[in-house]
Amino acid sequence: MRHIVSVLVENEFGVLSRVSGLFSGRGFNIESLCVAETLDPTISTMTIVTSGNDAIIEQVLKQLNKLINVIKVIDFKETDYVSREMVLVKVSADEKVREEVLRMVEIFRGRIIDVSPKTYTIMITGDEAKIEAFLALIKPLGIKELVRTGPIAMMRGEKTVKMREKHSKGGEEDGQDVL
């Protein structure tokens, strides 16, 4: 089961390695990790895509919570959310496929952000399904290089991440973890 997890952390040096080290040290999967400052410059958000069965995910969330620099952990599986990813892809653009590539980019609402006589560099954003579909179509035309941000996510509607005190989520209620 794949999970997108958002982790609010203190924006300090060394925190990223604590989080990534936790994953490697405990043998958890990490598919992607994306970090940047939030509106509050003392806090960063890490968006992590991980996978595992329920027991493993429960451990991932709890172990993240246990880190001293972690302020809050949100598992997007428990809420409606929107997520987007950005991909930069450099493709062959010789005469045979030039038109075809342009058409694909247009259909998928991507943008050409750099051109050379033999290549296009395309930027495309969207949810994972859209990105995968685009890459599947463009692959036969010859991808030279690909860089992905990994997804970032946010709750749908008016809901925002509240900065509740940490201890209110380490507790267990009715046998369920409140995370």
Partner: protein, 563 residues
């Protein structure tokens, strides 16, 4: 008035009430060493940095206070890693101050530079690199708070040499406020009620209790709760001393080398009440067959321990003492559920008594000098009142089995990491905390050689630590596995080139005794325990002896190999 970083550091230690540190000097410590020289803080200089951490750890385990050590940069810092990992696995509050090369040299592969924050990240509860002297007091305050609160653990603070020289105002903060760290102490009342409903409905309950009982100071509450409802108690290795070892409700230790009664009680129980224990693999045996008929209540301060190895029915996050008090309250006032509870579980108690008398802990008495006999005598001579540390291996298991611990903080052993070489420096730390107590390290001939240089520390500071070496000329625990599972191919485990431990002790200026016959055990031990010097007692035990009962790795608890 401004002070230098090193004087600020000393003032901060004083403000924390620290009276003793275990340390080893180096180039990077010079400023701090100099500042400490004019302070009242006792500075115990060890002979190897690993021992500084183990000694701070032993001091913490014995006293309940936070242990402190200070080492230099590079190799001084890297030497602490095993000690830090040991404390981390057993949740012991210590603060390790490592000195570091000056900030402008960090990352330059400077002389005696090591990224100790990076190296120890997986085995500390938290760590800091102090980049600015202005942060020093806040960081020291936070380090001590984090080390001792919630689930305790080691915290490392790395202080570059220029920071210890830089000037700043000293004002020690009186409060800590870490928004991202708020441990839960109070158990959820709804969960506690639910747990007590399960207790009320159970006919075969077992209290399975671990190191959390010791660190939360819950042993009195545990005894009250167990006696009130007449529930038998089994301890993990880390929990020994948390419940009186000769109490009629005590089943002994459970697990790989646990008692028959404890392992059978777990196997046949209908309710496990786990308190401050983490279902470690040495305790559970094959997890799929652990307590197959039981519902499980799990009380732990650390949510990550819950449902990590074993799925539980009622999790309660909170401090053991706190939650047990609430449970005692419910059991005392809820007459409907608990009035005749002890009589309801009487048949179960009868069953556990049966297991106890059918297969008590024992060993073959064949006239040779048996290590178990030595432990029994140590228990008898000290009346169970000594502080006992152990090394790791057979010596540790025999001590856990045959010495009956009555009080918490009297058994100091490396449970989680299983660190050979822990016991001797830990005994030194415990002796520093309790100068008047009898502190005994039960060692093996292999383990004692891992930190034998600390004899010099014990002699220098007149610490009359007693080391009883159960000398079987083997790395006994590994030998035992080779005997059972590798057709007696004793590869790497024969220790026929050990030194003469009596002479080694004497060479360092300590006392040394040797025991070769059973009839000499009492007389020599008494003499050794009476003298006021650091002492080695080299006991030439039967080298063939193995630790039983034994649950082979991967087998369920009910499948014990017995004597």
């Amino acid at each position: 008035m401004k002070k230098s970083g090193s004087h600020i550091f000393v003032e901060a230690l004083k403000a924390e009430g620290i009276d003793t540190i275990f340390c080893y000097p180096g180039g990077a410590t010079l400023n701090i060493t100099d500042a400490l020289s004019s302070s009242d803080i006792v500075q115990m200089v060890v002979r190897h940095e690993q021992a500084a951490v183990h000694a701070a750890d032993g001091y913490a385990r014995a006293s309940g206070k936070t242990g402190v050590c200070l080492v230099t940069s590079g190799p001084g810092a890297t030497n602490t890693v095993t000690g830090i990992a040991t404390a981390c696995m057993d949740s012991i509050p210590i603060v390790i101050f490592s000195c570091q090369v000056p900030t402008m040299l960090i990352g330059n592969d400077a002389f005696q530079e090591a990224d100790i924050v990076g190296i120890t990240r997986p085995c500390t509860k938290h760590s800091y690199l102090v980049k600015d002297v202005k942060d020093l007091t806040r960081i020291v305050k936070e380090a001590f708070y984090i080390a001792a609160s919630g689930r305790p653990g080691p915290v490392l603070v790395d202080i570059p040499k220029d920071v210890s020289a830089a000037m700043a105002e000293f004002k020690y903060p009186d409060k800590v406020n870490i928004r991202s760290y708020q441990p839960t102490y109070t158990g959820h009342p709804g969960q506690i009620k639910k747990a007590m409903k399960l207790v009320a409905a159970s006919k075969k309950p077992v209290l399975y209790t671990g190191g959390g009982i010791i660190s939360s100071g819950a042993s009195d509450d545990l005894r009250k709760f167990a006696e009130l409802l007449s529930i038998p108690v089994t301890n993990t290795l880390m929990g020994l001393g948390g419940f009186p070892g000769e109490h009629p409700l005590f089943l002994g230790m459970l697990g790989m080398h646990g008692t028959y009664a404890a392992n059978m009680a777990i196997t046949n129980s209908d309710l496990i009440i786990a308190v401050g224990a983490r279902f470690d693999d040495r305790a559970t045996g094959k997890v799929d067959e652990f307590a197959p008929q039981a519902q499980i209540i799990h009380i732990d301060i650390d949510p990550t321990s819950i449902s990590k190895n074993i799925k539980v029915n009622v999790p309660i996050v909170g401090d053991s003492a706190n939650v047990l008090k609430k449970m005692i309250e419910i059991a005392s006032h809820d007459k409907d559920d608990f009035k005749d509870y002890p009589s309801r579980v009487a048949p179960w108690i009868g069953e556990t008594e049966g297991w106890k008398s059918k297969y008590p802990l024992t060993y073959l008495k064949d006239g040779t000098l048996k290590p178990q006999y030595v432990i029994e005598r140590i228990h008898e001579i000290t009346k169970g009142q000594a502080i006992i540390t152990t090394e790791v291996g057979q010596n540790q298991m025999w001590t856990a089995q045959f010495y009956k611990f009555h009080k918490p903080r009297t058994f100091l052993t490396s449970g989680g990491l299983g660190t050979m070489g822990f016991g001797f420096p830990a005994a030194i730390g415990a002796q520093v905390a309790f100068p008047r107590s009898l502190v005994i390290d039960v060692a093996g001939d292999g383990s004692i050689q891992m930190n034998i240089q600390e004899l010099a520390t014990a002699v220098q500071y007149n610490l009359p630590v007693k080391v009883v070496i159960l000398n079987n000329r083997f790395l006994g625990m590994v030998r035992q596995w080779q005997e059972l599972f590798y057709e007696k191919r004793y590869t790497w485990t024969q220790m026929h080139y050990a030194p003469d431990f009596v002479k080694v002790a004497e060479a360092y200026g300590a006392a040394g005794y040797r025991i070769e016959k059973e009839e000499d055990v009492d007389r020599t031990l008494k003499e050794a325990f009476r003298n006021k010097r650091p002492t080695f007692v080299d006991v030439m035990v039967n080298p063939e002896e193995s630790v039983y009962p034994m649950v082979p790795a991967g087998a369920p608890l009910r499948e014990m190999l017995l004597v």
